[in-house]
């Protein structure tokens, strides 16, 4: 087994910029995802996390490029499987702060099954989804959160499908912390991320992150969002009822539950493998 070298660097006063890498993002000017880098860096600075003790994990898509833009450890894996990679990392290395990131296509379409089971499993990590209701990297196809009548080359005159409801799915699947933020409000978003990271168990932050290139009409989101519309509750029924009148632009913490995070069960020990040989010996 490899030796894990513990951090020996004394905690220092770091500013948000110390949590960003020197890699230049591939994103279009005006992309909402810049706001998530800023908010994430701000939250990390506020919590005074050691960059080497944080791992940012992602799948594929525009927003999934984010690990390389942070100064922490990063993992940029395959499409849709970020939550699985993050789950394995956190269970194998419970000492790390694991933040899984991605977009609506990655998380709700190809990775939808993992989203449901990550909520159920309630591993102590945070999942930030930058939702722009479009596949941006492949240049403008409808995602699960796209409006049914949104016209595109791949689905002319719209998909006709009803939108995926991430917060409802998270709530019914067992996520322990559920919030919605907006990239146009980096301070509010940083605060939500900080609360999500601090909250035990699986924390889900849905971030409205406009795609100015393929969904330029989303520039108007700043006029539609309703800051602090959700009031945090640990009552599942109240949270569920609140979602019945969600506009899709209600911001804040919807739910902060008290379910204990995932932990391995059953008797445990630290014996040498050779102690197990007695099972086979005649």
């Amino acid at each position: 087994m490899s030796e894990i070298v513990p951090s020996s660097v004394a905690p220092a006063m770091r500013g948000p910029n110390d949590y960003k890498s020197d890699v230049k993002p591939v994103w279009c000017p005006g992309c909402g995802d810049f706001g998530v880098v800023n908010a994430l860096a701000k939250a990390m600075a506020k919590m005074a996390l050691e960059p080497q003790d944080v791992a940012v994990v992602s799948g594929i898509g525009c927003s999934s490029r984010i690990p390389a833009y942070m100064a922490s450890y990063g993992f940029h894996g395959v499409h849709g499987r970020a939550l699985a990679a993050g789950t394995g990392l956190k269970i194998a290395r419970p000492d790390l702060t694991v933040i899984v990131t991605g977009g609506d296509g990655d998380g709700y379409s190809i990775g939808g099954n993992h989203f449901v089971h990550a909520c159920r499993r309630n591993v102590d990590m945070t999942y930030i989804v930058m939702d722009n209701r479009v596949y941006g990297m492949t240049k403008g196809q409808p995602s699960p959160t796209t409006e049914p009548d949104w016209d595109s080359k791949l689905s002319p005159e719209g998909t006709g499908l009803r939108e995926f409801q991430p917060l409802v799915i998270a709530l019914t699947s067992g996520a322990n912390f559920i919030a919605r933020g907006f990239t146009g409000d980096p301070n509010g978003l940083a605060d939500l991320i900080e609360r999500a990271v601090r909250h035990p168990g699986f924390s889900f932050v849905e971030v409205l992150s406009p795609c100015v290139t393929f969904r330029p009409e989303q520039k108007e989101w700043k006029k539609r969002v309703l800051p602090d519309a959700f009031k945090p509750t640990a009552d599942l029924t109240r949270a569920a009822r609140r979602m019945l009148r969600d506009t899709g632009f209600d911001l804040g913490v919807l739910y902060a539950g008290e379910r204990p995070p995932y932990a391995p069960r059953g008797p445990r020990a630290r014996r040498a493998p050779s102690d197990l040989e007695a099972r086979f010996a005649l």
Binding site: M1, S2, I4, V5, P6, S7, S8, V9, S21, V23, E50, P51, Q52, D53, A55, V57, P67, A68, A71, Y73, G74, F75, H76, G77, V78, G80, R81, L83, A84, A85, T87, G88, L89, K90, I91, A92, R93, D95, L96, N113, H114, V116, H117, P264, G266, P267, R268, A269, R270, R271, A272, P273, S274, D275, L276, E277, R279, F280, A281, L282
Partner: protein
């Protein structure tokens, strides 16, 4: 063909094969396991495989055993005894239970006649009133009566049988006395049976012996190799490997998590290994198909990972409970792009241990995925084996120390292996990436970076010294013919070759343990002076034969013996083929 026959009066056999069959709940598996343990306690080597009907629970079942004076890793051509508690649907196992004129069928006359397919062999039939005998003992059960009878026919000592019964029923003392009484009743009834199959005296005890399945051996090998994190999704016939590892990992400070599907299990394992903890998952063909994209990520991002593929009959759902070597192609060629990785194959129940351990060591040293090919036969067979010899410790993962200035995760090094920073190490933060990258790990679409990284990823595999474990090379080194095989074909080939040798057919036997990267140089060297090469494998399309022909220039006349799975090769089948081959 070697026909099953009872030895003449006063004679003994060095190998005896028996089947216990019956409908679900009749307890033939319990009795079979006890017979296996009794043989082990008596000092014999033994092997047991099991077959059951398509029902999830219940349904007909057969425990197939071979007990011998020498280590045995495959079944014989025919069974000496077919013993049934009842005959319900037992004819379904016809193809798996070949009998001969010298065989014995034991059945309870109150359960009807043996199926015609078995009787046709011309074997001896003996009625054994199992149910009546069981009723003569309070709480007695027919399967325990049968155990007593079979043990007597084989000449297994009473105390060895009692020890096996006590071990199984130790937690149910109320069942112990009736079971032992039923065994005694069965033993007494054997006195009236005219044919017997007494085993020769057991061999001297040298190396301590173990009793285990290939799946358990693979699980233990993984732990010995350093695996401390497993992500699991159940699939026949790999499930038992994962089930064995779950409590075992907890005992050695590791963790197993059940995933929602194989896409999750492989990515969880990659995540755990990225965190610095040697990680593994196990699956079978359908699961491996789902995992290949992530295996490519592990190649590109240089993250060690081990996947044990317990092969079953494919394609698609195929026959989940039967063995086939049909996954060689996907294991070697399944990844998109140029994705060099490791493929290893275990060639016996015991070798599942060493090969899996070696796979973990290689994956860690070379920072790449390793696929271990096992199969249903090896994985689910339970065998008495000599304690496997230990293999040398691995070199471990090359990690980077905190604060190394100008750290480059994917630095192009001479042997291709670059120090890996483990999260938590200060000053070395990088992003592991499936995107092609520059040495630092930053995404790159430059051809120069692509060439350099492709080259380093291949170089680390091709420049490694794999040592002597690449294959088991046996047989007559002076022979001008050679057989190349892998996996569970090895045992019947070895036994068939031994029989052929008695007819004057000599050949070298090379059982490949390292399949990718193919150690072509070592293989060609092992074939020096050979004029005929025969490649033997269990699949329809001769996957190993085609792979070897593509990768290296095999000497002389090269032919292939291949057929699909469900039924293992028998030693007799190999023997017959070798007779033709040697004349050709």
């Amino acid at each position: 063909m070697q026909h099953a026959q009872s030895p003449g009066a006063g004679q003994t056999a060095r190998s005896v094969s028996v089947v216990l069959a019956g409908s679900g709940g009749a307890g033939v598996m319990t009795a079979g396991n006890m017979l296996l343990e009794a043989a082990a306690h008596a000092g014999y080597y033994a092997l047991m495989t099991r077959s059951s009907g398509p029902q999830i629970r219940g349904g007909e079942a057969a425990a197939m055993l071979r007990i011998a004076c020498e280590p045995v890793e495959c079944m014989e051509d025919q069974f000496h005894v077919l013993a049934a508690v009842d005959w319900e649907n037992v004819q379904r196992f016809n193809a798996e239970i070949p009998l001969g004129a010298g065989s014995l069928i034991l059945g309870d006359p109150d359960q009807g006649e043996p199926p015609e397919v078995f009787v046709r062999s011309g074997c001896t039939r003996v009625a054994l009133p199992l149910k009546k005998l069981a009723k003569s003992v309070p709480e007695g059960r027919p399967n325990m009566v049968l155990l007593g009878t079979l043990a007597a026919l084989l000449g297994l000592p009473e105390d060895a049988v009692a020890r096996a019964v006590e071990k199984t029923l130790g937690k149910r003392p109320a069942a112990l006395a009736p079971s032992l009484a039923a065994v005694a009743a069965g033993r007494a009834a054997a006195a009236d049976i005219p044919v017997r199959f007494p085993l020769a005296p057991p061999p001297a005890r040298g190396t301590p012996r173990w009793l285990l399945t290939g799946n358990e051996a693979a699980g233990y090998g993984a732990l010995k190799g350093g695996v401390r994190f497993v992500a699991a999704y159940p699939i026949t016939p790999a499930t038992e490997l994962l089930e064995w590892m779950s409590p075992a990992l907890a005992q050695v400070g590791g963790t197993l998590v059940q995933a929602e599907d194989e896409l999750a299990s492989i990515n969880m394992a990659i995540g755990g290994s990225y965190g610095g903890v040697p990680s593994l998952t196990a699956t079978s063909g359908p699961g491996l198909s789902l995992m290949v994209e992530a295996l490519g990520l592990a190649v590109a991002a240089e993250i060690p990972i081990v996947v044990v593929d317990v092969m079953r009959v494919g394609p698609s759902t195929g026959i989940p409970t039967k063995s086939e070597q049909g996954d060689l192609n996907i294991a070697v060629h399944g990844l998109h792009g140029d994705a060099p990785h490791l493929v290893l194959a275990a060639n016996s129940v015991a070798d599942c241990l060493g090969t899996t351990q070696w796979a973990v060591q290689l994956a860690e040293s070379l920072q790449t995925p390793a696929i271990v090919l096992s199969d249903q036969f090896l994985g689910q067979a339970r065998a008495v084996v000599d304690r496997p010899a230990a293999i040398a410790a691995g070199t471990g993962r090359l990690t980077a120390d905190a604060g190394a200035p100008g750290y480059k995760r994917y630095a192009v090094t001479e042997n291709g292996v670059s120090p890996m920073a483990i999260p938590g190490t200060a000053g070395l933060a990088y992003t592991a990436d499936g995107l092609e990258h520059a040495e630092r790990g930053t995404p790159s679409s430059q051809a120069t970076d692509h060439f350099a990284q492709l080259d380093k990823r291949r170089r680390k595999l091709t420049s490694w010294n794999y040592g002597a474990l690449w294959a088991d090379v046996e047989g007559d080194a002076a022979a001008d013919g050679a057989i190349v095989t892998f996996g569970s074909c090895t045992a019947p080939v070895r036994e068939g070759l031994a029989r052929a040798a008695a007819d004057g057919v000599a050949a070298r036997l090379i059982s490949l343990r390292l399949l990718a990267p193919l150690p072509a140089g070592q293989l060609i060297a092992a074939l020096t002076g050979v004029r005929r090469v025969l490649v033997i494998e269990q699949n329809q399309s001769a996957q190993l034969y085609r792979y070897l022909r593509a990768e290296c220039d095999l000497p002389g006349r090269v032919t292939s013996l291949h057929r699909p799975g469900a039924l293992q090769f028998s030693p007799g089948e190999i023997h017959r083929h070798l007779a033709d081959w040697s004349r050709a």
